[in-house]
């Protein structure tokens, strides 16, 4: 069965399960979904916000998907994103440069920060065969606590204790013409970074020798080694790139969508990235599509919550259920196969 059909079925079942949940808790699901979609798409401002919400999801999804292609499960996108966002914020707050130089420098800092954070698990995997799932989780918490203490120590906010100073407008990804075009939305240059990254990654995976080697390692580590591919190098490199992409998500989130970095919270987009990658079948375009869909759910839920009294967490619940269905899509395949068998058996009997 085709991957996109599988994903669409998973989405369908997820939405159905969400409807059942709304009914069980005494709400009207049709009304709920109506407001959910309206909240995400009703006017240009809301569309812009949906795109902005989707931006970090595109990047974390891409990060997870990229690592997955090399057979690595990057569960640490949250930490890499946090570190990337932190590095970009630190650069933005401490350097006083013209915008044309500052922004690229911030993006670069974000990429390098996330990449280095992911290289540690990559190296441990390549050199010592330490499972990346556990090591990336550890790195998540190390990132969490490091940022927790470094932000108040060096970049303390003016009024609120739990966030950094506000970035000056000069050091943010927001552009006035873009906000005007979307009538005051907080959409920003991050979205273009994300789309550009999708294109680059698609090219890298599908059209380059490096991409071929990384995929080969993902398919069969031993065969690749036998064929002369530097497996250890590929693993470290793959984590480097995946971490860098997650770092870009941090740049988009903390210097574009938000104007400061909060402490005491691991960005949920890191974990949602796993969902995005899975639903998008680890393909760059699939990731883009599913991130936009999740972005719609996330940005519409506030409006839905205001118009009905359905708790906004319904969006998270639906996404989680979609992932479960995507993981168990084999069940649907089996059902279809069984139906086909029965049909052909019936035909034979008729003949």
């Amino acid at each position: 069965m085709n991957n996109s059909v599988k994903s669409l079925l998973a989405v369908l079942f997820g939405l159905l399960a969400g409807a059942v949940l709304m009914m069980l808790t005494g709400h009207n699901p049709i009304e709920g979904y109506q407001y959910l979609v309206q909240g995400g798409l009703k006017n240009p401002e809301r569309i812009g916000n949906t795109l902005a919400t989707a931006t970090p999801l595109i990047l974390t999804g891409l990060s997870v998907a990229f690592a997955f292609r090399t057979g690595l499960f990057n569960i640490g996108a949250a930490g890499q994103m946090l570190v990337g966002g932190f590095c970009a914020t630190a650069v933005g707050l401490s350097l006083d440069l013209p915008r044309g130089m500052l922004l690229p420098l911030m993006v670069l800092a974000g990429f390098i920060g996330g990449a280095l954070w992911a290289v540690v698990p990559g190296f441990l995997k390549a050199r010592y065969n330490v499972h990346e799932v556990v090591s990336t989780i550890m790195m998540n918490w190390i990132a969490y606590w490091t940022v927790y203490y470094v932000i108040p120590a060096y970049f303390k906010g003016d009024s609120v204790e739990t966030e950094s100073r506000q970035l000056p407008a000069n050091a943010m990804l927001r552009e006035s013409w873009l906000s005007d075009m979307f009538q005051g939305s907080y959409i920003n240059l991050g979205f273009f970074i994300a789309v550009l990254t999708v294109i680059i990654v698609a090219f890298l995976i599908n059209k380059t020798t490096l991409g071929y080697e990384l995929k080969a390692v993902g398919f069969n580590r031993h065969a690749s080694e036998y064929a002369g591919i530097g497996v250890n190098r590929s693993i470290v490199l793959s984590m480097f790139i995946a971490g860098g992409i997650a770092g870009l998500a941090g740049v988009a989130q903390y210097t574009g969508n938000a104007s400061s970095i909060q402490i005491g919270i691991l960005p949920s987009q890191g974990f949602d990235g796993i969902a995005v990658a899975l639903l998008g079948a680890n393909a760059p375009l699939g990731v883009l599509a599913s991130a936009l869909f999740f972005g719609l759910l996330y940005s519409g839920r506030g409006f839905m919550n205001a118009m009905t009294d359905i708790p906004p967490e319904i969006a998270d619940t639906i996404i989680a259920i979609i992932i479960y269905f995507a993981a168990t899509s084999i069940l649907i395949e089996r059902l279809i196969r069984k139906l086909r068998l029965r049909r052909s058996a019936n035909k034979k009997q008729e003949d």
Partner: protein
């Protein structure tokens, strides 16, 4: 220094217990061959159901001793039920166990808050009172040991230590334990010996679910007192303890106590002069860094169950 340790110890034990029981549950699951990364979600479910049941019962039977135990049992049952989702996906459907576990985490995190908001509006559920700590009679009078282990202890501590002993006995001294371990090492040999691999793995995952639920409820009923939608990542820490403890009950006990002690020290470091000189960030990241180092050290001689994480395909030899 000694008084400091004496003061910290009871807290460290209280903090260790939820980790211990959750990691112990994961031991059953992984020893039977199923990776369970959904521990965090299962703990959240336990914490939610525990808070829900206890707060409802306390409206009527405030002060009755059995209410809290009913809450614990309900939490274990609910989490066991919830872990069926993971068991079904990874045992019957041969799904990727890590993805299925991640889905469990996400569903639990989102669904429980969704339901809690429908109940209380704010998404937090408070219980009126949790377990009371007490000094164990006689034993707390023993010098040194009494002060460290038997003062200000909770009934849950005794309960969970008992479960640890029973689990160890079950795993190593009963036919069931031998079967469970064989399914995680060499499921095909186990099958050839007449063991129903899938069924044993179901039991492993269910025990893991029930124990995680106990862990979540233990957090709620000892030191937190409120369900707020997460368990501060303790489920992941439990998973790390399992690996750190090299898939053995006593190893897990040591690893979880290490985490419990290290976290407690980090939490109280600011009020203890001899610790306040160390930057708190170092104390906070210390357990995680040590885990990474331990993983490197153990990488050569890992005692991971050989078939863990692999779907069982009866036809594949």
């Amino acid at each position: 220094m000694w008084t400091t340790i004496e003061q910290i110890f009871p807290y460290a034990i209280v903090f260790t217990i939820p980790l211990l029981i959750t990691a112990l549950g994961a031991l059953f699951s992984e020893r039977s061959g199923v990776v369970n990364i959904g521990l965090d979600g299962l703990m959240i479910v336990g914490s939610f159901i525990g808070a829900f049941v206890v707060s409802k019962l306390q409206e009527q039977y405030l002060g009755s001793w059995w209410v809290l135990w009913v809450g614990l049992l309900a939490a274990a049952a609910a989490s066991a039920l919830f872990s069926l989702l993971h068991a079904f996906a990874s045992i019957n459907l041969n799904a990727n166990q890590i993805i299925s576990g991640t889905a469990i985490n996400m569903i639990a995190g989102a669904l429980t808050i969704f339901l809690a908001r429908n109940i209380t509006g704010s998404g937090n559920i408070r219980v009126t009172s949790g377990f009371k700590s007490f000094d164990f009679p006689v034993l707390s009078k023993i010098p040194v040991i009494g002060d460290l282990f038997f003062t200000r202890m909770y009934p849950t501590t005794l309960f969970i230590i008992a479960l640890l002993l029973i689990s160890t006995f079950m795993l190593y001294k009963t036919p069931f334990g031998l079967r469970l371990r064989s399914c995680g090492e060499h499921p095909h040999a186990a099958e050839a010996a007449g063991i129903r691999v899938r069924r044993v793995r179901y039991v492993g995952v269910l025990i893991s679910g029930a124990f995680s639920g106990l862990g979540g409820a233990a957090i709620l009923l000892t030191y937190s007192g409120e369900f707020n939608g997460n368990v501060a990542g303790l489920g992941f820490l439990a998973l790390a303890s399992l690996i750190f403890g090299q898939w053995k009950p006593l190893g897990i006990l040591a690893a979880t106590f290490f985490f419990g002690f290290a976290s407690t020290i980090a939490n109280v470091s600011q009020v203890i002069p001899s610790l306040a000189v160390i930057p708190p960030v170092l104390l906070k990241i210390f357990p995680y860094v040590v885990t990474l180092i331990a993983l490197v050290i153990f990488s050569k001689s890992s005692h991971a169950p050989r078939a863990v994480g692999e779907p069982f395909d009866s036809g594949k030899r």
